[in-house]
Symmetry: C2
Subunit: 365 residues, 2 copies
């Protein structure tokens, strides 16, 4: 079997602690199953800035481009709040997304039965929740040009960002959403603000055409993004797959994540287009939670989102569907067993640290 | 006492039904209290398009500009889904906001004790909730130029919107937020995405300066808008006043509205700058709910948001603080009494229609 090259970017804050649990898991899989993973490691975010003044070095970017998959921890923290905009920690993540052309961000929001009670929403509203947000990740207002602050004189400045989408970008992201819907409950909801945004008008038009041309077997709904946010909070189970742009996807996926009771639980995958020859997609896997600097280094961070991100990696980058299923099963099993990190603790459960949680999942795997 | 000129724009869908209850209330106030309201009425949205091919006529715009306050119902419906973009129902509302320079949109999210149980969130999370979202309403990506769809040839189009904010726009909206915070719990949270948007960098900078220069007695926090959305769902009571831009305000205020159990309950005020001479602000008052075409004409719409919008009008446009307090008290009282329209009905309560609800509130007033 060919070696599987993983490039690890633990990043800042709780990133390294969470990644350590995945490293243990990878060793275990190489040993027990002969999975053949080879790992290399680099720096991203604040730690990369400290080491060489950029949020990711060109050398590490090259390794990310060459790897079969990148595992990413988290970036940022108060230490780097005042660094220049161009080299702020997030710039490393944004460069990875842009240079690897990771246009499709998959963010499942799944409510584990064992955690349904810990959501701020009523149990019946979130129990059994299983939705997938497909967020466009390389376009829109986060990348469009012009993006600048102009000094107008008289103490006045002007801040400008540009929301821009081309037909092909909307086509390919909606294709991903329709394909995934076919493996799920066959229902896509597209969200935009066509009533105030021209990019929203185009988004709506292209999703509709793509549906008609290639995916008319899938149920398609359109919703204004503000109404969609409301509906997510009111009755999230009405959704299966939601497809939306970079900015709305950022907002809506975070809200969806919060519905589930803990963002310490949720993974994500960012995928590129399949290579014409090899059919392989560039890919980066990343927990939805951030670097959580307040709890970093204390051994209490929840490693589940990072481990679940690795499960997505097994599934999408290596077609290791059985292993992915088993790993997700192991996560559910330790939760059923009552193990909880601090962020998801509730009375009657057993509080464990990062390492114990990782060990328990590996033992069940 | 000088006559108070109200210009009514009931609009489409349930707008006219809800407005009818406010008209009864105005008559009652003129009769019992000699409040001296004079009303005139115009068309906005789909009904205006049907009548004269524009979402609001120049004549009605002129009346809105001249009035002491505008009361607005709702616009839109499937009937007008295919009308040209420039004359779609929303264009009427957007023109009112822009031409009247209503830059400050105040959206209270209050959870009435009698309704705490009907939220999709746990009762303890929303009980007693009282937050105020101050949304910038005349700038940002909804109005910035260029805003267009370009045909690139080869079947490719490009949709463009421009997010743009100038210093003075951020200064004046944050001033409104700080002033209002002083009358409440003295705490402002500003939300943007400074980690990916230049307009967010400027937003953060100007809010911070405005605070330092004129409002350092108010507690100020900054939050990234995606994290802010999460926190709204996780523990909304941490907020007092939230100040944010047009697009984030649209998303966040709708989510905040949904927390309260029913958007059929929530009012909003859109205010201009005080006139240099008269100190009077142009103002438009509007329920947060939309036109709800599915229930229009059935006599079951909830008129409370429209009536509560009129209470905001009494407070902000006419300084009638006692009357506003009494009207809000009357709404709370009929809810305590168990009266419910269909959208907020729960077992054991008394279901009433639009007219009965309006009558009951007027009787308690
Ligand atoms: C870190 C930041 C740049 C990023 C984003 O806004 O895309 C994050 O919020 C996310 O959602 O992945
Ligand atoms: C009707 C629409 C143009 C409007 C907006 O997006 O501003 C509405 O959603 C609102 O929030 O008032």
């Amino acid at each position: 079997m060919a070696t599987k090259h993983l490039f690890l970017l633990p990043g800042d804050g709780i990133g390294p602690e969470a990644m350590a649990e995945v490293k243990k898991l990878i060793s275990a899989m190489n040993g027990k199953l002969g999975s053949g993973f080879a790992t290399d490691e680099g720096l991203v975010g604040g730690c990369a800035y400290d080491a060489h003044g950029a949020a990711i070095s060109d050398a590490d970017m090259a390794k990310a481009m060459a790897a079969d998959a990148v595992l990413f921890g988290a970036v940022g923290g108060p230490k780097w709040d005042a660094v220049p905009y161009e080299v702020r920690p997030e710039a490393g993540l944004l460069r990875l997304r842009k240079d690897m052309e990771l246009f499709a961000n998959l963010r499942p929001a799944i409510c584990y039965p064992a955690l349904a009670a810990s959501s701020s929403l009523k149990q019946e509203v979130v129990e059994g929740l299983d939705i997938l947000i497909v967020r466009e990740l390389t376009g829109g207002v986060y990348f469009g040009e012009p993006k600048q602050i102009i000094d107008l004189g008289n103490g006045q400045k002007r801040g400008i960002d540009t929301q821009v989408y081309d037909t092909f970008e909307i086509e390919r992201i909606s294709g991903v959403a329709f394909e995934l819907a076919r493996t799920r409950r066959n229902h896509v909801t597209s969200m935009e603000k066509r009533n105030v945004m021209k990019s929203g008008v185009l988004w709506n038009e292209v999703v509709t055409q793509t549906h008609k041309a290639r995916y008319s077997d899938v149920k398609l709904d359109h919703m204004l993004a503000d109404a969609g946010g409301m509906q997510l909070v009111r009755w999230p189970k009405q959704f299966d797959v939601i497809v939306t742009d970079n900015l709305f996807g950022d907002m809506l996926s975070d809200i969806a994540a919060m519905l589930t009771g803990s963002i310490g639980m949720l993974p994500s995958a960012s995928l590129g287009a399949p290579d014409a020859k090899t059919k392989k997609r560039k890919a980066l896997y990343e927990p939805v939670h951030g670097s959580a600097p307040d709890i970093a280094g204390k051994g209490i961070a929840n490693p589940i989102a990072m481990i679940a991100s690795f499960a997505m990696c097994l599934r999408y980058s290596f077609g290791m569907v059985d292993e992915a299923d088993r790993l997700e099963g192991a996560i559910a099993a330790v939760l059923e067993q009552g193990l909880r990190t601090k962020d998801i603790f509730s009375p009657g459960m057993t509080e464990v640290g990062t390492v114990e949680m990782g060990d328990a999942i590996i033992a069940k795997f």
